[in-house]
């Protein structure tokens, strides 16, 4: 998995690419936990994300909890398969998916 980060002022966009799984999630989790200070709008762009497992959902949940206290987080560009995972798990109710 690769991710590309674009920050402008208090807005951050993280573009995910590849597979967000048990092996790759810790790296993204560490980045998010250490990088959100002063950010009040976080966008996670998933156009190129092919796969997400519960380890990836855990990272999104942690990010959403942080952002709920300091601004907002949106998810964009999900493929159908990934949208379905969000729906099955009830994540579509707690995440803002655009």
């Amino acid at each position: 998995m690769e991710y590309n980060v674009i920050t402008s002022g208090s807005k951050m966009v993280i573009e995910l690419e590849g597979r967000l799984d048990t092996t790759t999630s810790p790296k993204l989790d560490a980045f998010i936990r250490n990088s959100l200070e002063g950010i009040n709008e976080l966008c996670i762009a998933m156009e190129k994300l092919e796969y997400i497992s519960s380890a990836g959902l855990r990272v999104l949940l942690a990010a959403q909890k942080i952002m709920a206290n300091q601004g907002r987080m949106v998810i964009t560009g999900c493929r159908e398969e990934i949208t379905e995972i969000f729906e099955i798990t009830g994540f579509s109710d707690i995440l803002t998916i655009e």
Binding site: Y51, S54, I88, D93, I94
Partner: protein, 140 residues
């Protein structure tokens, strides 16, 4: 039928996924179904890696059987660790608000939701978890 004997370590997850995916691709499995199966394989293998032999490590066997007509797959995980039925875990409450949501149990829940049939048995010192999935995208 193909089998992979591998040490139950999360570092080996990629090898397990590749082993399963090659056979699904050979069977002409649609991408969406493959992702659903991948999710289940990851959750079960990682579970074994984390808990079966904790704090030691040990072997696991992954068996993949695709029906000759390519219509369904059965994937079996065998380990010789402590008896543990992951299916006994209660499903998470999906209606809780954000602050109360926890991720525990979500993995197994995804396994149950994404596969058509999942069963567990403990036989002669082995945990055996078997899951089945129709590859044509219809529920069995």
């Amino acid at each position: 039928m193909k089998e992979l004997d591998i040490e139950a370590l999360t570092d080996n997850l990629t090898e397990v996924m590749d082993f399963v995916d090659v056979q699904l691709e050979d069977a002409g499995c649609p991408m969406k179904v493959q992702m659903q199966i991948d999710l289940a394989v990851e959750e079960i293998f990682v579970n074994i890696a984390h808990y079966a032999y904790n704090p030691e490590t040990g072997p696991a066997t992954v068996r993949v059987e695709v029906k000759p007509d390519g219509s369904a797959v059965t994937i079996t995980f065998i380990d010789h660790g402590i008896p543990y039925d992951p299916l006994a875990k209660e499903d998470p409450n999906l209606n809780l608000p954000l602050e109360q949501r926890e991720i525990g149990g979500l993995g197994i829940f995804l396994v149950k939701k994404n596969m058509d049939d999942v069963s567990y048995e403990y036989v002669n010192g082995s945990n055996i978890l078997t899951m089945k999935k129709n590859l044509r995208g219809e529920m069995t």
